[in-house]
């Protein structure tokens, strides 16, 4: 073998490890760095939501790796902190490093894959696709229980159900009722976290003042982002078809000047009547011993007798007032007109028909017969005297 060849071989043997070492440092840098995890927050974006993508890398090698820059490439999202990782530095062996990117989802619903990209100082790069979901379905609000009808000034309960049809949890969920035509006992209801496919019932006590609408607004957060959704309930004021309804019968009027009216008061409605009181109204002046007659509670189809006393002058009819309350303390008043019949008890005359002014028919007939008899006698007399 020639000495030149031997020298070349020796040089080659000496240089080979150096060349080999130089090429390994570039290629193994990427192999040392591992993307250990990534986190998308919120886990499911809604359109126009702002959130973060956090990527964690780890140097699993035995030597430091110098990273020149890190970035996130996406055409579907707007990267807000674009220059945050234009210079990164060295990642020591066995250490981890987080890269957090803030993005805004100004895109339509779908699944997108922004690319996480690491640029090593010694050349080479590492990239990874991060899946991000955009889904804009809002929380659902359903009105599941309302009264059959609303009444002015009467408290009623409305139950709404807030449901989360989304894949991720909604936080800070608050339900607020709003109306120009009603007031509410509860001005809002805090639900808090609502898990995916979860729901929560909320009951509001509403006191309407007139016909109108009630807006139930749900506020919630998807990550940092505040969202609202609403449901409108249009209602009209009714007459209270299920309300207690006071009926008076078996009325008997006794007295003259000072009258005593007795009878039965019956609850012909479908709800309880509480604190039922019977009294008289103008032109009558309630007087002792029974200015007011407290009947108490009357259940549906229940009845009770009553007796009220009052004075009046010249009136032929007097209104009786029946005052009562419902279970919520709302006050009601019903008026029934009673004919006084000149102070005679109705017990004797109730069975016989009466004239239009309460004048007994027998007396009317008697007066007419007397008038006819006298008239006939005078006519007969006139004829008889004409012949004389």
């Amino acid at each position: 073998m020639k000495p030149e060849i031997i020298i070349l071989l020796i040089l080659a043997m000496l240089l080979a490890p150096a060349v080999s070492a130089a090429s390994t440092s570039t290629n193994t840098a990427a192999s040392y760095i591992e993307i250990t995890s990534y986190e998308v927050s919120p886990s499911v974006f809604m359109k126009w939501d702002t959130g973060t993508i956090k990527v964690t890398i780890k140097n699993t090698g035995t030597s430091s790796v110098e990273i020149k820059s890190a970035s996130l490439f996406t055409k579907d999202f707007t990267l807000i902190n674009e220059q945050s990782y234009s210079t990164v530095g060295t990642v020591g062996p066995g250490t981890s490093r987080d890269f957090t990117f803030t993005i805004r989802a100004d895109t339509s619903d779908g699944i997108y894959y922004p690319r996480f990209y690491l640029n090593f100082a010694g050349g080479g790069s590492l990239s990874h696709l991060v899946p991000v979901k955009v889904e804009s379905t809002p929380l659902e609000i359903s009105i599941i229980d309302i009264p059959d009808e609303f009444q002015e000034g009467v408290k009623e309960s409305i139950t709404v159900l807030v449901g989360n049809p989304r894949e991720n949890a909604a936080n800070g969920v608050v339900v607020k009722p709003e109306s120009d035509s009603a007031s509410f006992i509860q001005n809002s209801y805090f639900i808090g976290e609502l898990l995916p496919d979860g729901s929560q019932e909320v009951t509001f006590d509403v006191i309407p003042t007139e016909s109108g609408d009630i807006v139930f607004m749900v506020e919630y957060r998807n990550g940092l982002n505040l969202h609202t959704t609403e449901q409108v309930l249009i209602y009209t004021i009714g007459e209270g078809k299920k309300n207690a309804e006071m009926v008076i019968n078996n009325v008997e009027v006794a007295g003259s000047g000072t009258y005593t009216v007795t009878g039965d008061v019956t609850n012909a409605g479908l709800k309880n009547a509480k604190s039922v009181i019977v009294t008289s109204a103008d032109p009558a002046v309630p007087t002792d011993p029974n200015r007011l007659y407290v009947v108490g509670e009357l259940e549906p189809d229940d009845f009770s007798s009553f007796e009220v006393t009052f004075t009046t002058e010249g009136a032929t009819e007097v209104p009786l007032l029946i005052l009562y309350k419902d279970d919520d303390g709302n006050s009601y008043e019903e008026k029934v007109t009673v004919t006084l019949e000149g102070g005679f008890t109705q017990s004797g005359s109730q069975t016989s028909p009466e004239g239009s002014d309460g004048f007994p028919v027998e007396l009317i007939a008697l007066v007419i017969i007397a008038a006819a008899g006298v008239g006939g006698a005078i006519i007969y007399s006139c004829k008889k005297q004409g012949k004389i």
Binding site: S256, G257, T258, T311, E313, G342, F344, L366, A370, S381
Partner: protein, 211 residues
Amino acid sequence: MISVTDILVTPRHFFGELCKKETDLKIPVLIILIIAFIGGISAYVVTGKTMTMMPSGMEGAAFIVSLIGFSAALIMTFIIWIIWAVAIMIMVYILKGKPSFTRLLEIVGYGFIPQIFGSIISMGIMITSLPDLVLPATSNMQEIEAAMKAFTNSPAMMAAMFIGVIFTLWSAYIWTFGVKESSKLELKKAAICVAVPLVIYILLTTSSLFM
């Protein structure tokens, strides 16, 4: 002997014959007495009923007050008799007739006969209706006043009033012929002599309806 039928059916003939005789008030007084007695019974019943308004402890006074009511009605009937005669006499004077007070008193007395029937009917109404009337026991004058007003406007009292007016019209018809025969007035003027007091009487009697 007088005939009631003559008075009621042919008063002109009856008074024509009567005026030929001397004035005799015995029968008219008897007629008025009958009416007064019937009216007294009615007053007794009504007064007794209104005494129930008095506070307890005055039960003993009720009988006495009822008797006073009876007596007052008795006397009032005679006074009313006289008032009618005076009123008619004044009208006869005005219309230039020739009135004699005792004769007019006699004529008015005979003319009261229809009111015997009226008084009986009114008394029947009172007796049958008043038991149903309940008056409050009170010492409050306003309440008593209101109760009495309501009482006088009660159907029974109104019916009695209408009956009284109807039979007074019959009396007035009879009086007209008596006045004509006794005062030598035309029938038309005699009718006016009776009609004017009659209208006043009806207005006064029915005034409670409008007040």
